[in-house]
């Protein structure tokens, strides 16, 4: 276990808190919705119904209908699976990659830092749109393009966040002490530095999950995101733009699902980071 010299001595498992529980509960509901959507609605999300186009929310259609007469609540429910996948997996890869790069770059400094930072500059120079459209041209529109474009672009925040905190932490007493004690670099990085800087990543990761789902909305806005008839919260929202004047509910309700899912993940993120957080500096 980590020998953190000035941590309060509360065993790890006891640090689990209320925030974490509520967050997990919310996420669990969404996971259930993703696995068994028919539990939550009896409508077929892809069924066109020309007699029920653009209807306002009512008892029959809780979230109203879209311009094809499809029930929006049903589409939101069935969209949960894709959105959870997008949110978690699109976020995970950049988070791991970015954190690792930030640790290395900040800790070792020198040439390694310079190279990583300059590569970083090159990636940043390409606006998201250029990359997204180029990727779509190669992989075709849809989920693959979404994942690749987010992976290519999303690691930057983590790298910079972690690197900047590492720059501070590596000057601290216990890191110096650990070096004096002869601990290996890997041990120092993983067990001394990482726990102290990781909460930044976690907090950002929760926002990132939501941002990944919103990236899907931006790609859908250009028509290059998930393809019809697949339902996905961001795609439903951006599709609702055309009907903003007469059917604003199309864009509002998927947003509510997004906020709730985001809330669940952010509570989990906050809860986890409370657990990891120790007195430091």
């Amino acid at each position: 276990m980590a020998k953190n010299l000035s941590a309060k001595k509360i065993p790890f498992y006891k640090r689990v808190n209320l925030t974490l529980w509520i967050g997990v509960a919310i996420v669990a509901v969404f996971v259930l919705m993703a696995i068994i959507p028919s539990l939550f609605t009896h409508y077929d999300p892809d069924a066109l119904d020309p007699t029920a186009m653009l209807q306002a929310p009512s008892a029959a259609h809780w979230f109203g209908t879209d311009n094809y007469g499809r029930d929006i609540y049903a589409r939101c429910v069935y969209a949960t699976k894709i959105d959870l996948v997008i949110g978690v997996f699109a976020m995970l890869v950049p988070m791991i990659m970015g954190t690792a790069l930030g640790l290395l770059s900040g800790y070792y400094g020198g040439k390694l830092d310079m190279i990583i930072m300059r590569i970083f500059d090159i990636f940043m120079a390409f606006p998201y749109m250029v990359l997204a459209i180029a990727i779509v041209a190669i992989t075709g529109a849809g989920l693959k393009a979404l994942f690749f474009s987010i992976w290519l672009v999303g690691w930057k925040e983590y790298t910079r966040l972690i690197r900047s905190e590492v720059l501070v932490v590596k000057q601290s007493e216990y890191v110096q002490a650990a070096k004096v004690l002869g601990y290996s670099d890997a041990r120092i990085i993983l067990f001394t530095i990482l726990p102290n800087v990781f909460s930044s990543s976690l907090v950002y990761a929760a926002s990132d999950i939501v941002m990944c789902m919103m990236s899907s909305a931006s790609l859908s806005y250009l028509g290059l995101g998930v393809q019809p008839p697949t339902s996905e919260w961001g795609a439903i929202m951006s599709g609702g733009k055309t009907f903003f004047a007469q059917a604003s509910w199309i864009s509002i309700f998927p947003g509510i699902f997004l906020i709730l899912a985001g809330l669940g993940f952010s509570l989990v993120g906050d809860g986890l980071s409370d657990m990891i957080r120790t007195k430091k500096r």
């Binding site: 892809d46 066109l48 020309p50 186009m53 653009l54 311009n67 094809y68 459209i133 779509v136 041209a137 075709g140 529109a141 849809g142 806005y221 250009l222 028509g223 290059l224 393809q227 019809p228 008839p229 599709g239 733009k241 055309t242 009907f243 903003f244 004047a245 007469q246």
Partner: protein, 548 residues
Amino acid sequence: MKRKLSLVLAAVMVAGSLAACGGSSQPAATTAAPAATEATAAETEAAAAETEAAAAETEAAAPEAGGFKDTIKFARPADPADLDPTIGDDTYSTRMYHSIIPGLVQVDANGEIVPDLAESWEVSEDGLTWTFHLRPGLKFADGSDVTIEDWQFSFDRAKNTEESYWKYTAEPIVSVEGDNETVIITIAEENPAFLAYLTLFNMGLQSKAHFDELGGTYDGGWPLGAGAYYVTEWAHDQYVALDANPYYYKEGYPKTPHVRFETVGEDNSRTMMLQGGEIDIMSDLPFSSAAVTDAADGVSVVEWPSTQQRYLVLNNEANPAFADVKVRQALMMGTDFQQLIDMCLYGFGQKSNSFLSPKQLGYNTSLPEYTYDVEGAKALLAEAGYPDGFDVTFTLRAGNALFEQIGTIIQDQWSKIGVRVNIESMDNAALRELQNEMKLEMVIGTWTDDMPDPSQLTQYLLDYETNHGFYTNWKSDACNELFAEASKEMDDAKRYELYNQIQEICHDEVALPSLFNANEIVAQRDALTGFVQTPYGQYILEDVTVAE
């Protein structure tokens, strides 16, 4: 505030009867437009129709009468791509040309060919010499005189700009002679469509001196003509500003001294600007918003007939299933066209049984419809060897809401007959590249006619070398022969009979099935009157006034 379609058409049909004496299409109700001197009977009729049609305004004629705005603000979703009339043939360019570079003749609101810069004309017996009598004292907007060199320059450009798709229309021209009052055009052989060609924008009169001043190119600039307006400024992706031509041949016109075409990409913003009075008229209103917008105070939605069609382009080179005519017919039977029209057009369009638009001359009205019959479609597919249906990739232009709708609906409809449609969106440049290489199985084709003649589209469809049958890989020697005959046939009745036969063949073979013919809608403030859009997509702005 009701849809003004019938009223507008009524006023316009009366105007059409006045058109013979030269002039544009809306009657000046109270004072005389000096050029029009016709029978008073027609004028009183016009006045009556006008007062009926107009809601509140009466001073339609006097240009400087108090209480009128001095600028027409017209919002559209995109900038013109290029104002070079031989190249710029996108919607936002073509609509503007008539106002700045009119030609010898024009199309009026009814689709009839009527005089423009030429007052009258004759054709020689052999059909090879066309003599046009110009209006006296024509000048360009900068005050310079129109000379025969300018006409020669304009037709020469139309014919010899190598990259221009439109040069085929000027191809027949052998020589352009004349003087400041007459233009004599000699063509190589008799051509029934030649007068229609002359209404096209690439045949517009442009000032040679202006072109030379710009350095021999319209790049970064625009043409100078003898129209009601001329371009003064173009801030790309923001607006195009036009001023009234002080030397316009029609006294007292245009009625409003300035026009500003604003580029506003977002449909909702455009509509808000209209409702708030920041603009006076807008195009490209989504059909789904028409009812809501019309119901708002001070704003009306006006419907204009258009030849615009959308097609299903079935490429049998990329998907062999399409090679069998039975499969194509089965797909027609498996498509509920009425549902498409209802859900996509909200009533602003109609079914078309031919590749030609129902609004175009020569449309074959006796073609049978394909009735919606799911069981029949499945049976026919089985007969053709596809009892379990087949898969199709439907490639759509990304970011186009109408195309996405069509895609989603077709996907749903065809799933019932066992055809599994997989939608893929692609950005337009990539799509056109792949389409050109005949690699796309199915796309949505679009076409709007630019002149009143069926030859424009027919020629394109049958030009296998250039576009492989509108990218379907379909061809028909029979049709090619019929078309060759029709291109020389000067008798209208015989000519349209030939076109009828062509359309029958295309219908039976499902060469290029039409999804629908859509009209166009424009939303305008009630304070604006006099706007006309011809069925071939020209804006006529000289009569427009906007009350304060």
